[in-house]
């Protein structure tokens, strides 16, 4: 049954590997982000430590580990310390149903999509508790923005994913991958370009990245909901933010870009290549577009993405019903 020893060991090994992946991903992404930002803004980026500055991120993480944790005197202690933990641990769970390769799924789940969406909801809760627990007006404002934004953009995101679920008749990520072919024109992005577009916009908003990074807009709110966090408290938020980026990229790759399938040979390398191309895309638009205003952000969602998502879902339902 579902509690057999083999499955248990499999989950433990998978979680350990995922923690490794999260840390490696954060270090690599910090380097990539700073280098790409430097390139876009015509400056060198980090170049002192190691060859071409590759060790800069490692040094930064060492500094972060050794830093003292300050906490505000009138903080709500339980909520203040609970929030980073709550940000970090659900993310571990989110990677479990992702099919990394034809025989490489950490935990095959029938309702993989629902699992990811369900536990992703805990992430916004942690932002809220962080903002509230620090008892700081900037944190609180950041948390309020995080709620409005995440709740709003979750809807078009789910609608976009639902269109693909309707198309393939399954909520299992592996069978969604298997139904797409090896070549790019056999992927779901060809059949669902609008859903892919909606998903791309809402994944940037869901991960609180610029141009939608209003919950932590540093020019207005210092650092938003994690203003009062230092040392490992901040590091956990940081790790989970980059892990969330990786996760939404994985989900986009699985749903729209054929997952681990690709020309010549299927395997986890294709999934990683696609996911990191999407991550590069997110970094690229972060340093290209200015931050939007809050009303623009919400108008874009409620007036455009939501109706478009509903329309797309409706059309997909009709077409699949007529053709099948």
């Amino acid at each position: 049954m579902f509690l057999s020893l083999a499955v248990f060991v499999q989950i433990i090994v998978a979680v350990l590997l995922i923690i490794g992946l999260m840390v490696a991903n954060a270090v690599a992404m910090v380097y990539m982000e700073r280098k790409v930002a430097g390139f876009i803004q015509r400056r060198p980026g980090p170049y002192e430590v190691g060859p071409r500055g590759t060790l800069q991120a490692v040094c930064d993480s060492m500094k972060l580990l050794a830093k003292q944790i300050y906490r505000p005197g009138n903080a709500d202690l339980i909520l203040y310390y609970l929030a980073p933990i709550l940000a970090f641990f659900p993310v571990l769970l989110l990677f479990l149903p992702i099919p990394f390769g034809p025989y490489l799924t950490p935990l095959p789940v029938n309702d993989g999509v629902v699992l990811i969406l369900a536990f992703a909801g805990l992430g916004v809760l942690s932002n809220l508790l962080a903002g509230w627990g620090s008892s700081n007006k900037y944190s609180l404002l950041g948390a309020a923005r995080a709620v409005a934004q995440t709740v709003a953009y979750e809807i078009p995101m789910i609608l976009a994913l639902l269109a693909v679920v309707l198309l393939s008749g399954s909520m299992d990520l592996k069978s969604i991958t298997e139904q797409q072919g090896q070549w790019p024109w056999e992927w779901n992005v060809v059949l669902q370009p609008l859903a892919f577009f909606i998903y791309l916009i809402s994944l940037v908003a869901e991960t609180n990245r610029a141009p939608f990074d209003l919950p932590e807009a540093e020019s207005e709110l210092t650092a938003g909901f994690h203003t009062e966090y230092s040392g490992m408290g901040f590091a956990l938020f940081f790790l989970s933010e980059y892990a969330n980026m990786l996760l939404v990229s994985f989900v986009a790759a699985v749903f729209f870009l054929g997952g681990y399938r690709g020309p010549i040979a299927d395997g986890f390398w294709w999934l990683f290549i696609k996911a990191y191309l999407l991550m590069f895309f997110m970094v690229w638009i972060r340093w290209t577009f200015p931050r939007v205003r809050f009303d623009q952000l919400l108008n874009l969602n409620w007036r455009w993405l939501l109706p478009l998502g509903l329309l797309n879902l409706w059309l997909t339902a009709i077409v699949t019903k007529l053709l099948v």
Binding site: L3, D111, L125, L128, W132, T150
Partner: protein, 207 residues
């Protein structure tokens, strides 16, 4: 002294046995692991519920509510319907709790509202009476069912096998269509009512 401890241990063992006998038809072949999980979720439910009711701070009360919902999701998992468990997380924690939190943050004076004062003793009495209601309603049924025949519990009519989304959808759109539609009407009425209560006719800035 030893005999008393033995007696207590014996009683606890007996209690666990009867719990297992009660849970056996619901949880076939899971045994002690399911029992541990069951008590863990009960702990979550009771602890979260008490936190939600007794906390002096609205945000902590909401955290209690989140823990309660986690316990409910765990109970769905134990009843072998993971889809419902995940939906519980998605809707109640991901949407409902977050919206409640939003409402809390939009209101002022969250730290010195009615709930921070010592409650009226009469209200405490009423609250305990209300907490006893499920025991009064469901207790005799469960007791009679388990007394006569433990397998009777199985005969509570659950006619749709809710182990997957597809089955659930078929059940909702065929056998249980009427309750399904009625529930959506209730939601619609609640939404319209909320809009009606919150809506204030706006005067134009000129007048």
């Amino acid at each position: 002294m030893n005999s008393i401890i033995e007696q207590i241990l014996h009683n606890i063992g007996h209690l666990l046995d009867s719990c297992e006998a009660f849970l056996a038809p619901i949880l076939p072949g899971q045994g002690i692991a399911a029992l541990i999980a069951f008590f863990f979720y009960v702990l979550l439910l009771l602890g979260g519920g008490l936190t939600a009711v007794l906390a002096r701070n609205l945000v902590r009360a909401m955290l209690g509510l989140v823990i309660t919902f986690l316990g409910v999701a765990g109970m769905y998992l134990l009843l072998a319907s993971p889809f419902l468990a995940l939906m519980q997380l998605l809707i109640y924690i991901g949407a409902v709790c977050v919206l409640i939190f939003f409402a809390i943050m939009l209101t002022k004076n969250t730290t010195d509202g009615e709930e921070t004062r010592c409650p009226n003793p009469i209200n405490v009495l009423y609250a305990f009476l209300a907490a006893l209601a499920p025991i009064v309603v469901a207790g005799p049924i469960i007791y009679l069912q388990t007394q006569t025949d433990p397998l009777q519990v199985q005969k509570i009519p659950v006619h749709t096998p809710v182990d997957s989304g597809a089955n659930l959808g078929e059940g909702l759109l065929s056998m249980d269509l009427l309750p399904f539609e009625l529930i959506s009407i209730i939601l619609l009425v609640a939404m319209a009512g909320a809009v009606f209560l919150a809506f204030k006719p706006q005067r134009s800035p000129n007048s």
